[in-house]
């Protein structure tokens, strides 16, 4: 039953990614060219509602359906990993025009070549795991 809920949330998210065009290479390119407000509006409006909602969760101490605390742990402190990792991610985001969520939606949308991007992302994740202890964090 629980897995049906996860599946439905995923389906909903996949539809939103595709229909918002956040899964389109063109929209990502346009964003980095400052050609339209579209992507900034998506991220910005999600963020404003996200900040407000999480404040409400904290103030009202809203629990999960199992009556546990929501997973809102603070991130580890640091600068190097976030900046270096972020820049590497951004280079790939602009080149492939896809971040992880949209990649999955594009697989379903029937673009076989996105599997090469996904394969690259899995290899990248694996290589990070191999090098983790040698990288500055």
């Amino acid at each position: 039953m629980r897995y049906i809920i996860y599946l439905l949330i995923g389906i909903f998210f996949g539809i939103v990614m595709f229909k918002s065009e956040a899964a389109s290479w063109f929209r990502i390119y346009e964003m980095f060219e400052f050609g339209s407000f579209h992507m900034y509006g998506i991220i910005g409006s999600a963020l404003i509602l996200g900040v407000l909602g999480i404040q409400i969760v904290k103030i009202k101490n809203i629990k999960t359906i199992d009556n546990n605390n929501m997973q809102l742990q603070p991130k580890e402190r640091g600068i190097t990993r976030y900046l270096a990792g972020g820049i590497i991610f951004g280079l790939g985001w602009a080149l492939s025009g896809a971040c992880p969520g949209p990649m999955y939606a594009l697989v379903g949308a029937g673009f076989p070549t996105i599997l090469l991007v996904l394969l690259g992302a899995l290899v990248g994740t694996f290589v990070y795991g191999l090098l983790k202890n040698k990288l500055p964090h």
């Binding site: 809920i5 439905l8 949330i9 909903f12 996949g14 539809i15 939103v16 990614m17 918002s20 065009e21 956040a22 389109s24 063109f26 390119y29 980095f32 339209s36 509006g41 998506i42 963020l47 996200g50 969760v57 359906i65 603070p74 991130k75 580890e76 990993r81 900046l83 270096a84 990792g85 972020g86 820049i87 590497i88 991610f89 951004g90 280079l91 790939g92 602009a94 080149l95 492939s96 025009g97 971040c99 992880p100 969520g101 990649m103 939606a105 594009l106 697989v107 379903g108 949308a109 673009f111 070549t113 991007v117 690259g120 290899v123 990248g124 994740t125 694996f126 990070y128 795991g129 191999l130």
Partner: protein, 185 residues
């Protein structure tokens, strides 16, 4: 105006992304779309090669189910809810055509010049796809999250590390588009 068939405007899409995050929080999970990549590596046995992948990946199976859902969602959206074209700002489309010979803006969802099966005859297209993916996967894990984990979840929770990561995302993206694209395409 056909609200199902037309592209969804930002003020519809953004709130629905926030809703996705809250739905996952309410069921006791969190919104982050790059973690499933790590879970997948573990499921394929990467734990034998690196401690980073030695964890109980079966406890994280839920995020693979979310991924499966996102794949189904992409199928539904592209087959039943979209004409699969993306219209970007005409000046940006013109620039793509003039400077990079990418002319499919407005006619396709992804540029045929990079993503069509035919383009794979060109080794540089394969390299663009694989290297782009590699940087996304490596960078997301190094930064501890991607656009969903940092730009939405982390910033919503007012996390300074997420702000640093998102600034990094934009530095990387701007460098790629403004300095590296002219060399690549």
């Amino acid at each position: 105006m056909n609200w199902i068939y037309d592209p969804w405007p930002w003020y519809v899409a953004g709130p629905l992304i926030a809703l996705t995050m809250f739905l996952l929080l309410i069921v006791g999970k969190k919104f982050g779309m790059s973690s499933p990549l790590r879970t997948t590596c573990s499921a394929f046995g990467a734990g034998k090669a690196a401690g980073f992948f030695k964890f109980d990946w079966k406890a994280e199976r839920w995020n693979l189910i979310v991924v499966l859902g996102a794949i189904i969602g992409g199928f539904i959206a592209s087959n039943f809810m979209s004409d699969n074209t993306v219209k970007i700002h005409p000046d940006v489309a013109q620039k793509l055509a003039d400077e990079y010979q990418i002319t499919s803006a407005g006619e396709a969802y992804l540029p045929n010049e990079i993503f069509s099966i035919d383009s794979l005859r060109n080794p540089s297209s394969i390299a663009i796809l694989v290297i782009g993916g590699f940087l996304v996967g490596f960078g997301a894990r190094y930064a501890g999250g991607c656009t969903s984990g940092h730009a939405i979840s982390g910033l919503s929770n007012l996390q300074l590390p997420s702000l640093i990561a998102v600034i990094g995302f934009f530095i990387g993206g701007l460098v790629m588009v403004h300095f590296l694209f002219p060399l690549i395409f």
